[in-house]
Symmetry: D2
Subunit: 299 residues, 4 copies
């Protein structure tokens, strides 16, 4: 199972009454199908998975799978606080036709969830899952760092094939790849550090910014793959302010606002998340316009 | 709605097959009914609420309510990442006959959950809940501190009656009481700081240690209320090592192990939480024995 | 060596040319001599000790000692990164006629300065000092917490008599007093938490706010000592905004500005520290006026 | 002033009586002169500068300059808490014949040392210094991160030529280079992340490991410069455990121990820093032996 290139972590659109708007999701995915994206992550952090009911999760997984292009690799978020529920979600993903389950650490009982306890959790899930597991480290949300040595331990499991590293600390990817068995795959979790991550061994990225600007993210990947270090770095530097403003500062609300501005179906996030303010919206608008002005052939 | 005295945050017992053991829960509550505990919190952090399914939550709420002594105040944990689900859980608590809903902040999207967004969440929940809301600050698990100024803002809402302050930073209680309207109630969230909290204005405590040693926790409260500062402080100092070892370090697993040692029905926590090691169990045993030796009339 | 009551950590005034203004220091101390302050700390954090040359330190110590009232206890800051220089400074303090040396942990090599290494440092200093040592925990500046168990170990040394606890986490004082030998003295390091600290066993405080409002700090101490819990708590709540604004947020610059406003000789801090802005000055002015309006008999 | 290649931050050897052992320093530098090191940093963190008296600093600067090879670039640590003393130290470095002054942020009054205050400090030093300034970000010791936007501001000053980035967070180098004017130089501050840093634009490194294994560090740099990404990455991975064990975990004591094992004059650090334990020494020994076995031609 090779995970190379750029993956978009799909947003979950909501209707005015707060219900999941599957038709909007389909429209977005159909447009993404025409880009060079390698695949989709459904029910990731950008997808507001933790704000959905179990039943909504099933429907979103099903809807995205049905409309996704055949050549797109499908990854499903499959995490929960309890080990049993995590296994159930990985199984649901497999039944729904997904190729990979993206699993973040349980994190509520932080002081009691480290070392052997975490390793055991991931191994139990990997043992029980019919599809391969992609680890997911996103300490800014979970408060838990998956340490390189622990990741390397988990990488020995034949059903754990890689990690989405969203800590933003690029050197963690170096450290993981140095310790893990050959073939273990690291994906950048943010467009802020995409080029740097590729330079030190990442095989791709799951980038919230790819929901907004899939073509530019794919172009950055292509340049890096062709060894065009300088032009890749230039594009990275042009994308950096957008990535920070839209994804890092904005979160799901920022990504959805920028999608609206780019003609996708973004909409509002679910409560308690708030839509971006009018001022933030203007800032995002200006940022996207600057980007287009500086790369008219690309954006 | 006065919340005075010591509340035990009930553990959720599990059977060997991993299912919820309601009978064990009943046995524990019946024994607690004979103590001076002011009431119970059902589905708090010690109750492993985040590891239960929605349906299990309902059954635990029902079972505890049925067996609880009439004079015991019943508080139900009612939290979720989404505002809508939080409201649903507060309503369930009301339907089940609970007097107060204990609500912690949504916390997954940490960088996007502060200030006005958090205030709006709690106000929406308080508006929609038929029973009063007790705020719940437990930053070691959520990564979110409820700041005194925000708590004071929320305290103006007539349906928000107090806070369980579990940060362990006693001065936060001072700061909250200094800013909040008269009558807002602060409860200590840990036996580590119970006496200090009472001395600066807390009206009681929700103490994991009270699942293990309810009599001693109640005695500490009584001494403080009678103004016996020195003897209260002595008892606090005797309880401190037990509270740290069993509750802070041990978490739900530690509390359950200590309950087993005291003749309650503790058992194992649910995965991914692991039971305490044999060495930890010995340490807890010794700690309880030391406590009994030093306070034969009490323990 | 009993350390009871309120101590002011003296600021170091500077002349327009940046040199130490000893005459201004004398004027301040003479006015403090007329208050109920128990004593002075010279060359503490509020005294900008780390910004002074060794020779300036000597002159400030000498000047303050000469003018201090006879009944005032004199404590000298005596800290450095190297053990040898720390000892030298403790000896200088003794030669200069100070009764106690206030010693904070060396902190530059944080990851290498903990546990046994720190204990050894403090013991070597205590062995070599002719005057007793007061430990000084101020993690917001040093990045190092003196843990209760380590403090309790150090408290066994006959020449280590107490601790100034400036972490702001009141429960640390409880924990230290619970573990340390009888007679070990804990002083609050901030007026933010002065009353709470006294309630749980502190014997006094070294309060930057006492440079600005010595009478009110002394009054708070007196009320607490007389067991007037409610009126002490009221005064604490009135002092809290001033303490936060002037000392916590303002630092040495804030304290000096507030001293100017109260007729003391404050002046500017030494570079790189910047004076408070005009807006901050107005805020401090207003805060002091509010305080006076609410306590005309006191301020 | 180009800073390219590998610089060793020299250790300061001490005699048995605790005094500075200048003869040992000379012996080390003479041996380093025969390697491909680009230059030396004298009085950096590895040089235990904060544990030396002012007079010792002068003597160490003089001794190192006298014996350093003509083609080696000389950088002097020049930092203090006060702006005036920092300027004095930068001037001393210039007088002593050093080409660059390495200046870390003042950090004691952390909450009051950020933004404009820090910028002003560095600008004042840069204005007053006759030699160019190299910024020095080492948050694990100072508790202060130099943010990319602030560094980019400072980079506009003609006398501020670059930064030693020791935070270990590689993406900070990307962010700085993206924002700073063309020609601003970033040096890696740790061998842990040397290759990754070079890949994203660093021009060299100041590496504590280069005090122990200068040839291997220089070889890694050469491979990266020749575009041999794979073989450079392999060497990086071989050096990673040594760098972590010796420099990150060991600090000055670890570096000195490893130098002893490699035939340099390491010795003990100055108190309060403790020498490595016997067990750590064995671990370092084994690590160096493994490294030699895996790269017999290199080490």
């Amino acid at each position: 199972m090779k995970l190379e290139g750029v993956f978009a972590p799909l947003t979950t659109p909501f209707a005015a009454d707060g219900s999941v708007a599957l038709e909007d999701l389909r429209v977005n995915v159909e447009r993404y199908n025409g880009t060079g994206l390698a695949g989709y992550v459904v029910l990731g952090s950008t997808g507001e998975e933790v704000l959905l009911t179990r039943e909504e999760c099933s429907r979103v997984l099903e809807a995205a799978r049905k409309v996704a292009g055949r050549e797109k690799t499908l990854i499903a978020g499959a995490s929960a606080e309890s080990t049993a529920e995590t296994i159930a979600r990985a199984r649901l993903a497999a039944e729904m036709g997904y190729s990979v389950a993206l699993v973040k650490p349980p994190h509520y009982y932080k002081p009691h969830l480290s070392g052997q306890v975490l390793l055991d959790h991931f191994r139990r899930v990997a043992d029980a899952s019919r599809i391969p597991i992609l680890l997911y480290s996103i300490p800014q949300f979970t408060g838990i760092f998956l340490e390189a040595s622990d990741v390397a331990e988990l990488a020995k499991h034949t059903n754990i094939i890689g990690i989405k590293e969203s800590s933003g600390e690029v050197q963690r990817i170096s450290a993981i790849l140095a310790l893990a068995p050959e073939g273990f795959q690291a994906l950048a979790g943010s467009a802020n550090t995409f080029h740097a991550s590729l330079m030190i061994g990442a095989c791709g990225g799951i980038l919230a910014l790819a929901c907004v600007l899939p073509e530019l993210c794919v172009e950055l990947y292509a340049r890096a793959r062709r060894g065009e270090v300088e032009s890749a770095q230039q594009l990275q530097q042009r994308l950096l302010p957008a990535s920070r403003l839209i994804a890092t500062q904005g979160g799901p609300a920022g990504v959805k606002c920028a999608m609206d501005l780019r003609g996708y179906r973004g909409g509002a996030p679910r409560l308690p998340l708030a839509p971006v303010s009018a001022a933030q919206r203007e800032e995002i608008k200006e940022c996207l316009q600057n980007l287009q002005a500086s790369a008219p052939d690309l954006a």
